[in-house]
Symmetry: C2
Subunit: 111 residues, 2 copies
DNA sequence: CCATGTACTTTGTAATGCAAGGTATTTGGC
DNA sequence: GCCAAATACCTTGCATTACAAAGTACATGG
């Protein structure tokens, strides 16, 4: 159920994580896990998609605690995509909120 | 692309529209069209799902301008589902925003 | 040497948005 | 009377994506 809400937003989240610095899939999963439920089976195919879109480039780095890590780095196109998706995200949230609270554009923030 | 973001949120939107008063699918599409892109092929199957969940009940009303309208009315369970989904929605937005802006919990609202 | 943690990947399933197409009713123009 | 347009319903098939589950491989410690 909540699963459906995530569709499309996770891509944005991964790009946002990479904007803070290069990382590898296993670590991205761990970073996102602090904020939300996320599984490996979601992220690995997503990384492939980002690569196919040329939004990330990759390089391998050997690890002393396991197999080599495949690092992902945002390309210029990736940065542009991130910016576009952030705008899209805000528009999307506004759209939904305008349906939920049709008379007012601003929301109270309980916490 | 934007399509993916909508997954799961449209159900919430339809329930929110129905909370403001009984309506029929064709009209719900038109109401939501003011705020967002939405198509009939999305809404009709969605209405069926809401019925299967017993979140809405239906009744027919004849129209003088076309075929009979199938009105949907929120059941008590539907109202409860709406409340739960609104909470879920706010939590979801907070989660994503916390990934996008990791250092601060509050956002500036440009407009 | 074997369990645990790290790290990558693939396969199949479920959910859902949408385009496209189809049916039926009413009204209004020609 | 007839035909287009608006109203209103519905279905089929496709694409996308989240996830569980399973599998592979390396490193370390008991």
């Amino acid at each position: 159920m909540k699963t459906q809400l995530k569709k499309g937003a996770l891509e944005l989240c991964v790009l946002a994580v990479l904007a803070r610095g290069d990382s590898y899939a296993y670590d991205i999963v761990n970073q996102l896990s602090r904020s939300m439920a996320i599984s490996e089976g979601t992220v690995y195919p997503l990384m492939r998609r980002l690569q196919d879109e040329a939004w990330v480039s990759t390089y391998l780095v050997e690890s002393s605690s396991g197999p080599s890590r495949k690092y992902y780095r945002l390309t210029p196109a990736g940065h542009a995509a991130l910016a576009a998706m952030q705008t899209e995200w805000r528009e999307f949230v506004s759209e939904i909120d305008s349906v939920l609270v049709p008379s007012s554009a601003s929301l109270e923030l309980p916490q």
